[in-house]
Symmetry: C2
Subunit: 222 residues, 2 copies
């Protein structure tokens, strides 16, 4: 069986879970306590990060970028990267936007500071980072809203990896109650559309010990 | 004519320049002063970063990840991502390693702090960041050396995007004289091999106003 090594609040693992589910590829989830630096895990991914995918044939793929590109090459049904070269360039531009810019400016400042630092034993949350995270969320939600109003989905005519990358970041933030959805109705409507897809259901069922999500977290009509 | 919008010390623009040259795709270079936030540039890349590639047919591709994947799809001769799914997964794992982990832990702490902050008007270099950059360079060079001793090239049997991503980061650091090559002979030998490729020559000819590279920078037998 295919195994995905993950952590429940990792936005990058969430992106891969959504991609696997959209492609209807079954997989088992295994929580990897990356802070324990397990020897067999570090051997396949010296970066010590989740997600890592193990295929049934034994192939290990580390890093969410490598995994998502692999999935679209190995399982081309239900393509998630777009059809034309131009569509694919736009999907990948936005995947980089959410994986790197949104993560660094928003998710890292909130999910990492408020939840992961404690787990990893890296000290107390930094109040300046948390303030920056809340401030940065606004322009990002407005950009998502603008994209959603201009196009059928964030990168163009098809639902694809750009939507999954964005929704993965937002769902981790939403779990800890840190998304002010009143900032953009268009972003909220787009998120409700992604959230109501069958691929999203397992994420909404996840619970992290000691952290209770807000009531709207798994409400499809929030 | 194809145009690459770049900055001379951007490791991500350097990676794309090497990829274009390895594929023998001609291009003109245009310096983009990203801190001026030129309106036409922000319209094609709202992240405001280099590199951005403009194809002769007018297609714009923003972000070095999107550009490199595009180049291998649009111009499959001289593939840079590997042949089998397993090889491609390893190339991409290492590209992510150098683009994200190496950049964040080393290049950002040195090239960004010492050179770009001044240009961008973002204040003085942070001495703590610079110390961290030097400290982090050692394990990274040792890892490169270990890969180079274990395989023909960093990701496997063929020279590819992993080598270009690593060499791009190191060449920007080497320009400002910040690579202690005595740390790893194997890493130094691998870099000398990459550096002597024709694709590297234009990078070695670049000069940045006010910053003189060390004598070994463009010496192929350093």
């Amino acid at each position: 069986m295919r195994i995905l090594f993950h952590l429940p609040l990792s936005p990058f693992a969430r992106k891969v879970r959504l991609a696997l589910a959209e492609k209807r590829l079954p997989f088992d989830l295994r929580v990897e306590r990356v802070w324990e630096r397990r020897e067999e895990f570090m051997a396949v991914n010296p970066a010590g990060t989740v997600p890592v995918l193990q295929e049934a044939n034994g192939l290990f793929i580390a890093d969410s970028y490598a995994i998502c590109e692999y999935l679209d090459e190995a399982y081309p049904d239900t393509p998630l990267l777009g059809r034309t070269l131009g569509e694919r360039a736009e999907v990948r531009r936005l995947v980089a936007w959410f994986d790197q810019k949104f993560y660094t400016e928003v998710t890292r400042n909130l999910v990492f500071e408020k939840q992961m630092k404690r787990v990893l034993g890296r000290g107390n949350p930094d109040a300046t980072a948390i303030r920056a995270g809340y401030a940065n969320l606004k322009p990002h939600l407005e950009y998502i809203g603008w994209l959603a109003e201009t196009r059928a989905w964030l990168a163009g005519p098809q639902m694809g990896l750009a939507d999954l990358a964005a929704a993965a970041q937002l769902s981790a933030l939403d779990y800890i109650g840190d998304v002010d959805w009143s900032i953009s109705d268009a972003a909220k409507d787009w998120y409700a559309r992604v959230k109501s897809r069958p691929s999203f259901r397992p994420l909404l069922g996840d619970r992290v010990t000691g952290v209770v999500p807000p009531p709207h977290y798994d409400d499809l009509d929030f």
